[in-house]
């Protein structure tokens, strides 16, 4: 009797644990957070995460996907100013909605961009909007009202060059804010919205304000 009880109970427990583990994989946030900087976020956007200049992900399951590097989960302090530097290496895809070419929600309502002009010469300036056809990605946290279009690297620029975009924004109270690139940049998927656009760790993630 006791053997039977323990046998059936052990079997049931194993089945339940296996199912919980199997389904529960969805509960775990996969990419680890970017920490260590209290008020600075240094990010890199690339056309293929396997071929990034700063943080190449060689063992990524999708090395040819676009992505934010080194991770898309960012932890920042509450009620403080966050300085963001994005090293943008991808070329332009273009915005569906030209309105999104404008900068919103940053301090001063602008961003500082170091880029290459049509002749391949380095330039630097403060911008409040960009040509909507020249956007490569966007840095957008809707719940904080932050929206920054990222200028694509000019075709005339030298090889392996990077547009450096810097801006700052303020966080509110603690919470989790989903963010998402608003340029349908998932190449090879229908309308560009598949693949990296819908997978956490590439073109979407979480801003954790603590």
């Amino acid at each position: 009797m006791l053997r039977r009880v323990s046998f059936v109970a052990a079997g049931a427990v194993i089945v339940v644990i296996a199912m919980v583990a199997f389904v529960g994989l969805f509960m775990l946030p996969r990419p680890g957070p970017l920490e260590g900087t209290t008020t600075k976020l240094h990010l890199e956007t690339v056309g293929a995460v396997g071929a990034a200049l700063e943080w190449p992900r060689s063992k990524d399951p999708h090395p040819d996907w676009v992505g934010y590097l080194p991770t898309t989960t960012w932890r920042v302090p509450a009620n403080s100013t966050i300085q963001v530097q994005i090293d943008q290496e991808d070329s332009a895809t273009g915005l569906r909605n030209p309105f999104w070419g404008k900068v919103f929600g940053t301090e001063g309502g602008n961003m500082h961009v170091a880029f290459f002009d049509d002749k391949g010469n380095p330039q630097e300036s403060d911008m409040t909007s960009i040509d909507p056809t020249q956007a490569a990605h966007t840095f957008a946290i809707p719940d904080l009202g932050v929206f920054v279009p990222l200028l694509g690297v000019n075709a005339a620029a030298p090889a392996n060059s990077t547009n450096v975009i810097t801006f700052s924004f303020k966080t509110k109270g603690p919470g989790r804010y989903h963010w998402q690139c608003f340029v349908p940049c998932g190449a090879k998927t229908i309308f560009g919205n598949g693949g990296p656009m819908q997978t956490i760790g590439y073109m979407g993630g979480t801003l954790i304000v603590v």
Binding site: V8, F26, T199
Partner: protein, 623 residues
Amino acid sequence: MVSPARVSERRLSIPNNPITGILLAIPAYFVGIWLGTLFGLNDERNTGVILGYVFATAAFLAGVGFLNYPLERLFGWRVTPISDPDENRGIGRFFRLSLDHKVIGIQYLVTILLMLLFGGIGAMLIRTSLLVPDASITPAGNYLPLIGLHSVMMIFITSAVIVGPFGNYLVPLMIGARRMAFPRLEALSFWVVPPAAVILAAATFWGGFPTGWTGYPPLSEQALQGMDSYIVGFTLIAVALVSSGVNMLATIIGLRAPGMTWTRLPIFVWGIFTTSILGLLAAPVLAAALTMLAMDRSVQTTFFLASNGGSNYLWENLFWFFGHPEVYIFILPAFGIIMEIVPHFARKPLWGYRTGVVGLFGVALLSWFVWQHHLFVSGIAPVLRPFYMLSTELISIPTGIIFLVTLGTLWRARVWFTVPMLFCLGFLFNFLIGGISGVYLSDVPTDVTLHGSYFSMAHFHYTIMGGEIFALMAACYYWLPKMTGKMLSPTIGRIHFWTMFIAFNSTFFPLFLAGLLNMPRRVSTYDPSLVGLNRWVSISAYFLFASMVLFAGNLIYSWFFVAKPAVANPWHARSLEWQVPTPPPARNFDRVPVIVAGPYDYGIPNARPVADLGGMVGATGGG
């Protein structure tokens, strides 16, 4: 069926069992992947994954033994005959291809209860992540696949949970037949379900799919390879629905015993009959739509891509043309169960038997004319809305007839409050709320407000969980003694009923309120002001899960530890399935029974026994 002479000369080729099936399915899967990648139709390997699943399923079915009979007939090969009810009475018969409808019923029941556990764990994880208003437990990108996994697994279950176990087991017994009309088709309708469940669960390896159970394009076209699990798995369920439907219809029409006239047919069989009509006609539409979606995703057709000349309305119409009859596939057999069980415990004839049958057919017929009420806010021509609003509201009439038949049976009855009867009464309470909330949703003005909110989510959980699953529990407590030969503990059963009934209402009734307060479905975050409501619901949901664990505990306790043998007719019921010994013999009846009376003639003086069984040792009919 194999005659004894043939058995003696049979040749063993390969052992046919699920292990062989799995061993064949694994290489077949990789052949499919390789072939799809070879053609290079799509760089994201959709073609490979779809072909892999299809090949693996075909190889699994071949390994289980479905090729034996065709090979024998086509080429005259001597291959192992599939097991026969007379040949194999051991426990092993449940683990291989069997043509015995009673074995298939048990196989179905166990498979579906395991799938129910899986889907239920998914529900618990959803409720756990909704304990907090932000997405801190489950990230937004992982919440939708979780919803998808829970919803599609539950849809798989509820499509088959009554017709599969109880339809297959009971229909031949109830109509006085020895088998189903097409035993191989019946076995096929079961053996595609485990691959469908495994393929669906395999979506997790590809990151799941974000569309829920409706699979709307363009999202379903953009989704990753997890979507292919949805496509192939759901197609297999459609195959099961069609094969089971045609088989049930042929059996009920063709194999009734002498004297089993249409008006003596147990009402549960009528429930299965109407369900089978719906399954037979609706599931092909789903299979066609899914095939088109698979082609869009693999060979670059554009059926559902508006930018290239297709239309995503096409999917919405095809899907809901299947989808709305599908929800009556869930509930019609449940109606059958309720109307079947209530007269036995009210000890009265079923009040308005013919009216009840008309009600079942009314629901089945009207279910074809309502599907666009799912599209009220999708931008359909507004002129269509009044028609679909009216047709949807009309469905409440035959449903009301079924309620009146049941309540008329209970009227002034001396009710025997057994556990199955308690679940029937619980069904009436829950389904009333579910049905009435459905009338609100069918009205265009309210639907425009409530569409996509927790109100509709609470509505369909009231009808499916509060309706169909309560009917399933009634059926389990009522018929499992016949099917397994062991009584289930009524004490645990009563505790199970009350915890389940209270926890169910405590879980889903507040969700109507959440819906009215604009909490949207399928979103991992919600307004922080609703956190108290959601925590209440989550904790109630844990109690609901605990009540289901109690049911599982009752099964294990009653089958393995107490094992109290059931008498042939513990409920003193009149209907035919209770007149045979428990568990029923391999051939059901010694000779074909002759039916001489209806199954519900309780309290009628000088009522004849229901059938002449030819001297078979059985129980006496109740009276």
